[in-house]
Amino acid sequence: MAVTIHDTLDVKRDIKHYDFGMPFWEATRQKKLVIQYCKVAKKYQHFPRPVSIFTGRRRDIEWREVSGKGTVFSFTIAHRGPPAFQGAEPYAIASVTLDVGVNVIAGVVDCTAEELKVGMKVKPYWQPLANGEHLLFWQPDRDAA
């Protein structure tokens, strides 16, 4: 059965941030993806935390820009959304394993139900927000091998 997957780009959003996650959101103004990196564990973590989840220390964290290229680890297709999303269903949300080794959840755009599979290559798509920030989405990386 063919399912057309919609995007949710037209949904109005007012996203409240925690101050320790602001470097992520500030970077999105330039459509850059930055992720927290633990210098001691030499691993990335997402979503942003006030400390390294590996060592428990604030001082071990730095922010690193990454390409945002990755592969779909898992996905779900919402057939029923929260109130602001009602009418946009069905739409897809994917957990993507970035090439640097961390999972990031975001909505999926420009993708058919037939294409959307675990293991599919994706890259970022940046949707402008009213405050000048951008919201990260995933789109198929059709040039990737």
Binding site: T8, I77, A78, R80, P90, G107
Partner: protein
Amino acid sequence: MSLRDHAIVAYAETKVMKKSDRDVWVLAGEILEALLDKTGFDKAEIDALVLSGLTGTGGSSQFWSQSMCDMLGLEVGFCEEVHTGGCSSIGTIARAAAAIDAGLCEVALCLFADTHVREHNGRNERSYRRDWTEPYGLLGPPGAFGLLQRAYDAKHGVDLNALGKLAVTQRNHALLNENACEELRVPITVEDYLNSRMIADPIRLLDCVMLADGAAGLIVTSRKRAREKGLHKCVIPLGYAERTNFLGGETLIDVTRSGHEIAGRKALAAAKLNIKDIRSFHPYDDFLIALVMQFEAFGFCKPGQGMAFVRDTDLSHTGTLPMNTGGGQISAGQAASSSGNLIEAIRQLMGEGGPRQVKDTTNALVTGIGWINYGRNWGSSAALALVPSE
């Protein structure tokens, strides 16, 4: 003293209602009255109140357990609300026993009253969601379990007929449970499961728990006090363990593994039981896939063999491993702070299962699942091994 020196001397429950026709405090009062009548304890002998914090009605109150004492006229030396989500109901027993051991109290009322359909006062939850999942319209638990079930499918494969068998088995139990939500006491088939509408693909409607209203409660005291009171028909908590934020200090974990690995091992070790010794199993069921993952995590079968285990095992109340004999939450309703499976296990061990009574009441294992974390599985995992007193 240790956990096993304590006893659950009585249980009480209301019928699960799609929407309560009575106030949450009225339900709490019904439970208190029933427990006092069953045990012969005087109200003044109840000197601890332990609530489950999994409550929508009490949700935004910082003073829920204290106001409950006030409303019920209870004067206590230990007043507590347990906050491990769906692990909270079994968590109250461990905390009540620990408080009794510490000399803080002697007779604890563990109370699970909630009318989150009739009156939901908001979780006011401060979490990752507002930045990291809500902007994408990920619908709470179904969305999270959609991601989880797809990941399980990619790693091990999902057999929809096995999930359908779980749905039907639990529904058949609800048909035998007069306290299950009446609207759910309708027979279903595997076809009905397969054809139920998608909510968060691959999660279907009949994968999901339905919120409902109701109340339940227990009295926990020392075995010594129970004997002195002449309460001989008891259930003994032999082993309990919980794990919150399993592998929380790691990235890129295997999401098909959970803290039940650790909680199960520790609870069974404390109970001096092997998983193969378990005679009835009452696992937390918010979504059917969680049942499969628990068969694996607790060691009923190997990782990745959960679907085959379901296919090959009779999980009905007359089967080789009776499971959620009251219907589970999915077919009885998610009510009373998710205490239904716990109450069912105690009822069975007391031999009061009626038309769904299991034959072998040697022991029972009850579990909990609590909270939803970011792209993993769940926040807390808990396990409680129970045996009858005689």
